[in-house]
């Protein structure tokens, strides 16, 4: 038990240790500029939170006369658990199998389940922080609205602590089984990518299923039955993921037999599944883990002709660095999944959801009507969609961080900061373009955009992507994360990626407000498009120029 607690404590310290942050903030004063930025970012989230709370309040008032107000809790729990189910995969794969500290932990006299327990705790804490954004407002505001007593708050705390356990245990079971199979093969990286994609698609498939089950229009009699039966809607919404029902009933029931029994079921299933992964870990974890990082070479001597063919004949440094970026990104599963594949998958999933969700026909008709009467609105909306799809990935905002411990090479090679940044920019911009192209395809297929509208939106988004790529790179250049031990930290858990996304949203919103302002002033569609395009070109060239200047300074300053 002592060993277990010790390894959990170390795991949590390494991942959430505030010592380094404290050192950087207070002693070195390096990241002090981040404090106001983060405060502003959180203030920026204020209106969203306000809107969220307003929706909760409205839903509560609407559902109260029907006696179905607990449905709000079900939705909150469902959202949190489905989120963990889908995005927990990244954390589980990288924490269980790609943390560098595993090389230290495996030789220690620890049992596989103890190592797994430590890793699981780290992910669990991560999930508490992640789902807090959408589960805590529901729990707290519901408690306030229903004037709940102490038992509610105690039950709420217990349920919140248990909430990510079931989905995380399900994901862990799948991942442990997947990695055991992957480790049998020589093509490990390829299998990890394919396996992860299958799990992501399965996760989204589940969400789609939930949407359809909850959102499809039932016949009126069934609707009346659902509305009049106690907890009818809850049963219906939660039927596909029963843990959400147990949690809701436990919390709503409180100190009654129903409350206790549901809490017991919820806690019992959580703990049983958790125990299940510990047993599975003992049997399969090390078998999947040991040797996962080993790649067996081909052991083939190159012939003279082969050598002559494969040795390049003097590429320009920009091309050489671009090729290096391209290869490393595409050959590292975590980078590929978070960088390249995300810009392809997200627009596709959006279109699938739009096609299968309720009321799809009316939206499309509305959009087509707008296209014929007010094309500029559609250009703006489509370009906004394309730009968001292009900047969803963390390629530009992790471009320096991804080099990690190998950044020393970028410091010693005789390539100027301009050449290095140019190569990285082309790489990041290429990924953004890929996002724009996929999003364009989606827009054309779903809304049947006219050529003029499509061309306009495309032009605006490719101009905007220049500025957003440069901004992402500047943020990463300001504070590159080079001392990571797990590639996940370079892209998925990198604060720079989050900051860049906030900055991107800020820029896109500002441009949106600017466009609305001009439209209200009576500026015509063609004129607005021209102004917007010129503004974006100016913004892009300014951010590019600043990026080059900043890089020249930072490549000297960054010490490794």
């Amino acid at each position: 038990m002592k060993k277990l607690l010790s390894v959990i404590r170390v795991g949590l310290k390494v991942n959430f240790g505030l010592a380094v942050l404290r050192h950087r903030l207070i002693k070195e004063k390096k990241d002090i500029w981040l404090v106001p930025l983060i405060v502003v970012a959180f203030l920026g989230l204020g209106p969203t939170l306000y809107g969220y709370l307003a929706v909760i309040k409205l839903a509560y008032r609407l559902l109260l006369p029907l006696g179905q107000q607990h449905l709000i809790l079900t939705y909150g729990f469902l959202a949190g658990q489905v989120f963990v189910l889908i995005f927990g995969l990244y954390y589980v794969v990288s924490a269980f199998y790609f943390s560098k500290d595993l090389d230290i932990l495996i030789p220690l006299p620890l049992k596989p389940f103890q190592v797994m327990f430590s890793k699981f705790s780290v992910i669990l804490v991560n999930e508490y922080l992640t789902i807090a954004f959408f589960v805590l407002p529901v729990l707290v505001y519901y408690g306030i609205l229903s004037k709940a007593g102490l038992p509610y708050w105690i039950f709420a705390l217990v349920i919140y602590l248990l909430l990510p356990v079931i989905p995380l245990a399900v994901v862990s079971l799948l991942v442990i089984a997947m990695m055991r199979a992957v480790n049998l093969s020589r093509k490990k990286d390829a299998l990890i990518i394919v396996g992860s994609l299958v799990l992501i698609v399965a996760g989204f498939g589940l969400q789609l299923f939930l949407n359809r089950t909850a959102g499809a229009s039932p016949d009126p009699r069934a609707m009346v039955r659902f509305l009049t039966a106690p907890d009818g809607l809850i049963q219906r919404v939660g039927a596909v993921f029963p843990p959400s029902i147990w949690a809701t009933k436990a919390l709503a029931g409180g100190l009654t037999a129903s409350g206790f029994s549901n809490l017991l079921i919820f806690a019992g299933v959580s703990l049983t599944l958790f125990y299940g992964i510990l047993i599975m870990a003992e049997k399969l974890f090390y078998r999947g883990l040991i040797g996962i990082g080993e790649i067996s070479g081909r052991k083939k001597t190159l012939s003279r002709e082969g050598m002559s063919r494969q040795v390049s004949s003097g590429r320009h440094p920009v091309r050489a660095i671009f090729t290096r970026e391209w290869r490393i990104m595409n050959r590292t599963p975590i980078f590929l999944l978070n960088g390249v594949l995300v810009v392809v998958i997200v627009p596709l999933l959006l279109v699938i959801m739009a096609q299968t969700g309720s009321g799809k026909g009316s939206n499309v008709v509305l959009l087509r009507l707008l296209t014929s009467t007010k094309p500029i609105y559609v250009i703006l909306a489509a370009s906004c969609f394309m730009t968001i799809c292009s900047c969803l990935n963390g390629t530009s905002s992790s471009t320096f961080s991804r080099e990690g411990g190998q950044f020393w090479m970028s410091k010693v090679i005789p390539a100027t900061a301009k050449e290095q940044v140019m190569a990285k920019f082309i790489h990041s911009y290429f990924i953004s373009l890929l996002g724009i192209v996929v999003a364009s395809g989606v827009a054309v297929l779903v809304v049947h955009l006219k050529v003029v509208v499509f061309a306009g939106a495309f032009l605006i988004s490719i101009a905007a992507a220049v500025a957003l790529t440069a901004v992402g790179m500047m943020i990463d250049l300001a504070r590159p994360l080079l001392d990571w031990t797990n590639p996940q930290k370079a892209i998925k858990q990198n604060l720079n990626v989050l900051l860049a996304m906030l900055a991107d949203i800020g820029i896109i919103s500002a441009l949106g407000y600017f466009s609305v302002f001009l439209l209200k002033r009576g500026i015509g569609g063609g004129m607005l498009f021209a102004i917007l395009f010129v503004v974006l070109v100016l913004l892009s060239s300014a951010s590019w120029t600043f990026l080059l200047k900043f890089a020249k300074k930072r490549y000297v300053e960054i010490e490794v």
Binding site: G297, T301, L302, S312, A320, R327, K411, V412, V556, E559
Partner: protein, 242 residues
Amino acid sequence: MIEFRRVSKSYNKGKIRAVDDLDLVIKPGEIFGFLGPNGAGKTTTIKLIVGLLKPDAGTITINGLDTQKDALKCKAMTTYVPDYPAIYERLTGLEYLNFIGDVYGVPKADRIARIEKWLEIFELSQAVSSPIQSYSHGMRQKIVMMAALLPAPRVMVLDEPLVGLDPRASHHLKEIMREHCDQGKTLFFSTHIMEVAEKLCDRMGIINKGKLIACGTLAELKKLNHEQHESLENIFLELTEE
């Protein structure tokens, strides 16, 4: 030639002086060994030469060019091997060598000739098409060494280059280092192995707590010691004693 003029570097806002007022000249055609206990300032000095760190004070010149003002020209004639071979694991050995060849502008014919020569010497011919991820520590050390030799640089800076190498590779590397300097080029390397320093170096310097406490040929260092016949190890121990 590498020249240090009153170079200092400190960490933790001046609390730890890693390199303290270093004055040193390494002449062309010279193998210079840099010795010192752990944490004495060897790696910091090396990182200052290759531009991984910026000196707080003083200047370093390579063949007359300031490493700060003419950074790119200095980099073009210098290669470096770090103490730990952290390199692009997802590239194959040949892709890595190609990358280095490209950024240093090595012509294709030279590139092929040199790669073939070093592959044979370092016994990496069978592994060069495999990802570096599949290499052992020693193989990684060898491929980094090959990358450092590929541009045929005028100055080589090596941090503990013999660590992790098998005896045969170690023997070859020592021959290569000698050859390099016999062509009038400069080589600066750090080591903990006294025997290597004794046999290989034309001159050596001993650094302790950031200060260069002794510098010269083996004979000159022996003169610093009361008993002339003592080994370098004993001289080192005596000079770096707390």
